[in-house]
Symmetry: C2
Subunit: 387 residues, 2 copies
C-alpha cells in the first residue's frame, strides 16, 4: 500500500465580509488530494483535505517541505505495523521531519490540510465514516448521535444595518439553529451594543455568542464585558490577542459569563499555555482550536489527552472552522460541538448537503470517510482543482 | 519615491550538521532585493534581505501575500510623512494587512526577510550604516564601539569526536572569540558530559554556552542542569520546547546558572509570554529572539520597548542568527551582543568579511546600510539570485 500521488491547489474563498481584524477579499484555502494505490470499484481510493478559512492557502510550505517528504518516504514507512492502512501519526512524523519546535503558524495550516486528506483516506480504506472510526479507535465505541452546532455569522459588511443583521439571525433560526453568533469590535462599544441588543431581543442572550476576533486591549475587553454581562451571553469569544493569556486571565477574573477562544492557537503547546496561563474556567469556558489549522486531527487527539490530563472535559472543546472534519470529530470523540458555516466561505464552508439541523443539533451522516464528496458545490470545485 | 521591483529567491544552506532536533541537509533561506527608484552613482538604490537559518525559505508567503500587498500600495503609502525615505512601520502595516493575529511562525520569517531589505534600503537612502541610523533615531545617538559576539558552533556531525570538537573550539579562540557554544542533547547525558567537560577544560566553563535546541522534557532538563551547574556555564540554552514556559520556570527555580532562550519565539506576544510566564531572571538570563525570523527589526523595536516596560534591560537581548543585521542592531541599540557564524550556514552565516574579532568582541563597520555587499561570497550569490 502506498501513496501514488499528492495533488495540491489554491482556491479562492474571497468575500466582502469582514470581522474586527481582517477583511476576506483576498482569502484563499489549500485543497489537497492524496491518491493511494488501493483500488475500489475500479477507482483509486483518494483522501481529500482543505485548510480552514482565515489563514490563507499554504502552497509554498506544502510543495517545498511537507509533500516532498511524504513522496520520499520509504516502503511501508507511512503504514500501520500490519500494513493494512496508512498510519496518520507516522505520516505526520515524516511530513514534519526536520522542522524545528515552536513557530506554530502557517506550517500548522499546511499540515492540517494534508492531515485531513490522510484521515479521509484512512477512513475510506477502513470503509467507515470517520466519526465511527474515531469512536471505535479512540472513544471505546461511544459517539454522539447529534452534535451541537452554531452558525459562524453576523459579519460586518458594507451597508449591513440592524435589520439585515436580525434578518440574518432569523434565517439561521429558520434553518434549525438555536445558538447564533455575531461579530463585534469593528465599531465602538456604543455602536456595537445596539447590534447586540437587536440580536439578543430576537434569539435571547443565552443563545447569542459574540466574537471580537482578538481585537480588544484589556481596558476595552473589560468595558465590553461589563456592558455585556447582563445579557448572560452564550459566550464572549476571543476578546484580546490570542496570545495575550494575561489579558484573558484578567477578563476571566471579572467577567462572569463564558469565554471562548483558541481558533488562533495552532498547536498543543499554545493550547496548553492558554489553559496554564489564560485563566480559563473549566466549568464554563470553551476552547476552539481548529484541527484544520493546527496540524490536523492527529495533533488534536494529543490536545484532548492534554486537556483531560489538566482536569478539563473534552466537552469544553468546540472546534472553529465549520467543516465536515470538525463535525465528525465532535460526534465520534464526543466533543462539545462544532462551528457551522451555512452562509460564508463558500463553497468550502459548511457540512454535507444532506445535513439537517434540528434544535441547533446536527447529525453526522453515514458518508464514507469525512464525506467531502457529499458537499456538492465544494467537491465539484475540488475535483476540478486536484482531480 | 517608490519601490520599482521586489525580487525573491530561495537559496540552499544545506549542510551535514545537526542539532538535537533537526538536521540541516535540506535547509534553505529566502533572499530578497527591494529596488527603489532612487538613483545614486547611476544605479538604483536597492535593499537586500535574507531570513535567518533554521525555518526554511518562505517563497510561498512572500509571493502570494506579502510582496503583492507592497506592490499594490498606493502613492506615498510606504513613505515617511515628509516623503524623504521609506517608513519601515508603514511598510510593515501594508505587508501584513488582513493577516489575523496569532500564529507567528513562517509568516514572521517571510516578513523578517522583507523587513531586513527595507531597513537596508532605508539606511542606504539616508547614506548611513544601519547601526548609526538606529543609534540616531532610537538610542539618543549612543552606540557601542564593540559588540560581544560568540560563534554558534559545536554541532554534531558524522564522525565528530571529542578531539575534533576541541579543535573546533580552539579554532574559534584563534579567530578571536572568547565565549564559545556547543550543541547538547542529541545523545544521552552520560555521552554529553564528556563533551562538555572536554570543551570546558579548554576554554573554561565561564566561557562555554551549551544549547539543547528545545529537546528536553522537564526531568531531562533538570538532570542536565544539576550535572552542569558545577561548570558555571555562560548559559544553558533552550532547554525545553520553546513554548513550554512552565518547564522553563521550573528549571529557572532550580538551576543557578544563566538560561538563554527565544530563537524559536517569533513575535512580541510570544516573547512577552516568556517573560510573563517563563520564570526568566532579569539579573542573569538572556533572550535570543532573532529579528530575521520574527517580523524584522521593526517588531524588534517594539520588543525592546516591551521588555523595558517589564523591568528588563535591553542588555539581556542577544539575537540569534549571526547576521549583519543583528550586529548592527546590537551596536546601534546597545543590546547585549550577537550570535556569530564563522563556520556554518555558508555563505549566508556571518558578518562582513572585514569584521575583526578581538577578545570576543566585533566592531560594526562603516558600510552603508546593513553592509550585505561586504560579505563577498554571500553577496555574489545574492546578486546571482535576485540581481
Amino acid at each position: 500500500m502506498r501513496i501514488k500521488d499528492i495533488r495540491e491547489a489554491t482556491a479562492s474563498i474571497s468575500s466582502e465580509i469582514q470581522n474586527a481584524y481582517v477583511n476576506f477579499s483576498q482569502m484563499t484555502v489549500s485543497v489537497i488530494a492524496v491518491e493511494s494505490d488501493v483500488v475500489r470499484d475500479g477507482r483509486p481510493v483518494t483522501g481529500y483535505g482543505i485548510c480552514s478559512n482565515g489563514r490563507y492557502a499554504q502552497g509554498g510550505i506544502l510543495r517545498e517541505r511537507l509533500i516532498p517528504r511524504l513522496e520520499a518516504a520509504g516502503e511501508g514507512e507511512l503504514l500501520t505495523d500490519d500494513g493494512s492502512n496508512f498510519d496518520p501519526r507516522k505520516v505526520r512524523n515524516v511530513m514534519l521531519a526536520n522542522e524545528k519546535p515552536g513557530g506554530h503558524g502557517d506550517r500548522s495550516v499546511a499540515a492540517g490540510a494534508l492531515d485531513m486528506a490522510i484521515w479521509d483516506l484512512v477512513a475510506k480504506i477502513a470503509e467507515q465514516p470517520l466519526w465511527r472510526l474515531l469512536s471505535d479507535r479512540y472513544n471505546d465505541g461511544k459517539h454522539d448521535e447529534r452534535v451541537m452546532v452554531y452558525p459562524g455569522g453576523g459579519y460586518y459588511y458594507p451597508g449591513k444595518g440592524l435589520e439585515k443583521l436580525q434578518d440574518e439571525m432569523r434565517g439561521y433560526r429558520d434553518q434549525g439553529y438555536k445558538v447564533v453568533k455575531m461579530k463585534i469590535g469593528a465599531v465602538p462599544l456604543t455602536e456595537d451594543l445596539p447590534r447586540i441588543e437587536a440580536v439578543a431581543d430576537l434569539v435571547g442572550g443565552n443563545d447569542l455568542a459574540v466574537d471580537a476576533n482578538g481585537r480588544f486591549d484589556l481596558t476595552t475587553a473589560l468595558a465590553y464585558g461589563d456592558a455585556m454581562a447582563p445579557f448572560d451571553l452564550f459566550w464572549f469569544e476571543e476578546p484580546g490577542d490570542p496570545l495575550d493569556f494575561q489579558l484573558n486571565a484578567e477578563l476571566a477574573a471579572r467577567y462572569p459569563g463564558a469565554l471562548a477562544t483558541g481558533e488562533n492557537l495552532f498547536s498543543l503547546q499554545d493550547a496548553r499555555n492558554l489553559i496554564r496561563h489564560g485563566g480559563m474556567r473549566p466549568d464554563r469556558d470553551w476552547i476552539q482550536v481548529d484541527p484544520a489549522l493546527s496540524y490536523g486531527l492527529t495533533e488534536y487527539l494529543d490536545i484532548i489527552e492534554m486537556i483531560e490530563s489538566l482536569g478539563w472535559s473534552r466537552r469544553r472543546l468546540i472546534p472553529h472552522g465549520g467543516h465536515q472534519l470538525a463535525l465528525a470529530m465532535a460526534a465520534g470523540l464526543q466533543l462539545g460541538g462544532s462551528e457551522s458555516y451555512p452562509g460564508v466561505f463558500q463553497p468550502y464552508g459548511g457540512f454535507a448537503d444532506d445535513t439537517v439541523i434540528v434544535d441547533g443539533m446536527a447529525e453526522p451522516g453515514e458518508h464514507l470517510g469525512i464525506g467531502m464528496e457529499f458537499k456538492g458545490a465544494m467537491f465539484a470545485e475540488i475535483r476540478k482543482l486536484v482531480g
